[in-house]
């Protein structure tokens, strides 16, 4: 019967459950205990990253012929949510690898894939996605970093900003303008490159001190006459914008999963506290003002989870998931901020204090409304997709 069939459809395969168990165990036992210390010191959590790499929790998208596991987006989202539960600073450092690798995975030729993805599975290396500039974040068309063809090389000049793993990367995915004509359309003016981080002329800026996810390494990078061999061009001159944007369909679901992990952590911490703290003669959890707050937090977390699941499932099944990926990321980013703030509220005065875990969550949550496409850009995308669907 269709009822029996529905009951037998599992949300996750047994293998996916095992992946999730592994990531959960690692996160609770090895990330949670050290997260506060890394937040205070801002030190790059390399020991944890190395451990995650050893356990196979990183670089899950790298194809099998490059030494990776070729996992789908759903599987990697499962892992990402669990790691983010422990600390989104750690998880962002790890996720930046996926973001940097994605252009190579979707657009690299065999030589590029073997060279730059292969090395990531041989040792715990980091990479970075270098698109944003001091003067251009949302408006990618406004990028000024220039790449000029000179013989068999491109010479790059310009500045990138807010590059996660900027100071730790072994190589960067770089988006630069190759067509100087201002009238050239965005879809043809930019080129995607793979740049070795030890190329002469790359100046790595200082580690930026941010509001949250403080152990993640974020920097400005200056390119001064950096020479890139033409073999490192992805697809060809002018193909860059599409590649850079195409990566997002696969990286936005994991970002949504990360925000969901943070929200789940905030919910769990707040719930535990509500079941211990007493006021006016009973547990604060028994006061409706608090229990209703927790109920709404739970609603948001569950729906955010379903958001990333849908967007991951769509792309894993070979469909264009832009609409779902944007919705997932926008929603999860927004609710992560709401839920973290509400968690601080449940903790009351204690929540504002650094001895308790929730103020960090509130500081960490904010960036989810900004990076990988701001909350406003997501709404632009969603509205455009929505009208497109409506008109069909």
């Amino acid at each position: 019967t269709s009822r029996e069939k529905a009951a037998s459809i599992k949300l996750m395969t047994d293998q996916q459950k095992e992946f999730q168990e592994l990531a959960r165990k690692f996160s609770r036992e090895e990330i949670v205990p050290v997260a506060a210390a890394y937040d205070r010191s801002g030190e790059y959590p390399f020991p944890i990253i190395k451990r995650a790499w050893e356990l196979g929790l990183m670089n899950s998208h790298i194809p099998e012929d490059c030494g990776g596991m070729g996992l789908g987006i759903f599987d990697s989202c499962l892992i990402t949510e669990e790691l983010a539960y422990g600390c989104t600073g750690v998880q962002t450092a790890i996720e930046a690898n996926s973001l940097g690798q994605m252009p190579v995975i979707i657009a690299g030729n065999d030589f590029q894939k073997k060279k730059y993805l292969g090395r990531m599975t041989e040792e715990p290396l980091m990479c970075a996605y270098g698109v944003t500039e001091p003067g251009a974040g949302s408006d990618v068309a406004g990028l000024k970093t220039r790449a000029e063809k000179k013989g068999d090389e491109y010479v790059v000049n310009g500045q990138k900003m807010w590059i996660t793993n900027g100071g730790k990367a072994n190589w960067y995915f770089l988006l630069a303008r190759t067509d100087a004509d201002p009238k050239c359309p965005t879809s043809k003016a930019f080129t995607g490159f793979i740049v070795d981080a030890d190329s002469p002329g790359i100046l790595v800026g200082r580690k930026e001190l941010n509001m949250g996810q403080r152990c993640s390494d974020t920097r400005g990078i200056t390119f001064e006459d950096v020479r890139i061999p033409k073999e490192n061009v992805l697809i060809g001159e002018g193909a860059g914008f599409k590649i850079a944007m195409g990566a997002f369909d696969k990286t936005r679901p994991p970002v949504a999963a990360g925000a969901t992990g943070l929200a789940q952590r905030a919910l769990d911490e707040a719930t535990g506290y509500a079941l211990e703290r007493k006021t006016f003669g009973k547990l604060i959890a028994e006061h409706q003002a608090v229990s209703f707050l927790l109920a709404e937090m739970a609603m948001k977390v569950e729906l955010a989870r379903m958001g990333w699941q849908r967007s991951a499932w769509e792309v894993d099944n070979g469909r264009r998931n832009t609409y779902y990926a944007s919705i997932a990321k926008a929603f999860a980013g927004d609710i992560a901020n709401q839920v973290a703030s509400d968690a601080v509220q449940v903790f009351g005065g204690n929540g504002f204090n650094s001895e308790y875990p929730v103020e960090k969550l509130m500081r960490d949550a904010k960036i989810y409304q900004i990076y990988e496409g701001t909350a406003q850009i997501q709404r632009l995308i969603i509205s455009r997709e929505h009208f497109g669907r409506f008109k069909k």
Partner: protein
């Protein structure tokens, strides 16, 4: 051809709050998180380490119970065991299953698989019996190294450092032997993601106790299960004299 059998038991996860069933016949297991017994994890780790050091060739993970125990065997495979054996026991037999029945099964399997070592956890965290390893050794008439906190293979013998009440005891026993793992024997590894994927291809054989000539009839009947008595609130006293008076009054001193 050196082969090790490792027993892995599926138990209620150590972090779960145990609740007694309303009819006092046992504890609630439906919908409750289960995982591999922590001492069994340590046993698996030790066996896999011995294989990595090339003292043994093959590690076989064994579990007795209903279909769900295959999850536990898969975890053992993901940690590095080569293949698994699922001895199917379900229903009333499973509920009544205890150390004697398991020991009989392991003794039969140890002979059938020509194992050089049987490594078990020292006890399970659900029943805390601490009997299965000892019974298995007795049924096989093999030496036993229980509460092992260090295991070293030396030719045809095994040196075992045992944790005992007075400290540590070192013994040397001949193989084949039964060992039981204590807490400090090792730190179990995570099953890495690639190993979880590889474990899917490893084989798990199915059999029934009857196939091994084992009768599952229990000689033990559980009459009743109760929670420990709730801890009563204490009494606060103002002065040391009050304390002494109260202790005298209730007969403590």
């Amino acid at each position: 051809m050196s082969r090790v059998l490792v027993g892995v038991k599926r138990v209620i996860d150590y972090a779960v709050k145990i609740r007694v069933k309303p009819d006092h016949s046992g504890v609630v297991t439906d919908g409750v998180k289960h995982s591999m017994n922590p001492f069994c994890e340590i046993a698996v780790e030790e066996a896999v380490k011995l294989k990595e050091k090339k003292f043994i060739k093959e590690v076989v993970a064994v579990s007795c119970g209903p279909t769900q125990v295959t999850e536990t065997i898969r975890t053992a495979l993901a940690m590095g065991c080569d293949r698994g054996i699922h001895v199917e026991v379900s229903g009333k037999d499973y509920e009544a299953m205890g150390p004697l029945q398991i020991a009989k099964i392991f003794a039969a399997l140890a002979k059938k698989e020509e194992a050089s070592l049987v490594i078990l956890g020292k006890q399970a965290i659900d029943d805390d019996c601490n009997q299965t390893g000892q019974m298995t050794a007795a049924l096989l008439d093999w030496p036993q190294g229980t509460f092992a906190s260090e295991v070293t293979i030396d030719g045809e013998k095994v040196k075992v450092v045992r944790e005992i009440d007075g400290g540590l005891e070192t013994i040397k026993i001949s193989m084949p032997a039964v060992l039981t793992a204590d807490l400090r024997l090792n730190t179990p590894r995570y099953a890495t993601l690639p190993n979880i994927m590889k474990a899917k291809k490893k084989k798990i054989a199915n059999m029934k106790p009857a196939d091994l000539g084992v009768d599952m009839v229990s000689r033990v009947e559980v009459l009743r299960v109760d929670e420990p008595p709730t801890r009563l609130a204490g009494v606060k006293v103002e002065t040391v004299d009050d304390l002494v008076a109260k202790l005298k009054a209730n007969g403590t001193i």
